[in-house]
Subunit: 151 residues, 2 copies
Amino acid sequence: MFTSKPIGFVSSPYKQTSEIPKGLGAKHNAEGALKILAEFELGLTDIEGFSHLIVLWEFDRADGFQLLGTPPSDNRQHGVFATRSPRRPNPIGLTIVELLGREGAVLRVRGVDMLDETPILDIKPYLSNIPAENLRRGWLGEAEARGRQGT
Amino acid sequence: MFTSKPIGFVSSPYKQTSEIPKGLGAKHNAEGALKILAEFELGLTDIEGFSHLIVLWEFDRADGFQLLGTPPSDNRQHGVFATRSPRRPNPIGLTIVELLGREGAVLRVRGVDMLDETPILDIKPYLSNIPAENLRRGWLGEAEARGRQGT
């Protein structure tokens, strides 16, 4: 067993799961903030230079886990590790946000898809891409293709 | 406080930290495996369709944390949240690997940079890129530029 504790909390316009855009073509342009605890502020040194950050956070309001589930972007079941479902064995979420600005221990960001007051576990710089021509997106690419065909 | 437990373990050629390529221009092409515990195998359903996976794992051999540190890719100090240092408040690592194949609960992958027997916390599909023209890489871009100039 490993333990983790919040390094801060998300400030998000979403108070309930139902408000978060989901499914195929969902856009995450909501602005919010990462409010880092004062004791960890020194760890943000030089973060302003990065345009995008990887945020790891706890699905603190998820209820247990489910190894197979039907995501909002498809009408078929998939394994939890092939989806972004909150109901994971270790309920850790990952969001890539655009860093808009920093005021002390508060990072203003675009692209939040977490609930308000979600505990933040870690922040990492987003460094590199997989070239698009090397990327395959499995069932999600197939679901998108079916959606375009209206099936 | 949140708790997490391994969903499996990494099989890696690296037995010691000193063997892992580090610093500017380090290439991570090592092949290895993600050995998922039998109880979670059902969660891998459909994962074969994805070319790349995000692996979250525990830096189980890291020793405490340091809010400021000098990464192997630079000779200047940066905040821990602007680096990939193992010495983080919550020692969770993130690696993007290429999925080469699956045999039951074992995923053969390329791009491991973890130590052998590292505990795996989660696997997520890698879905999208930030367009290269929108990406700024902060101190790392600057360190690379200084390296090219030999300074």
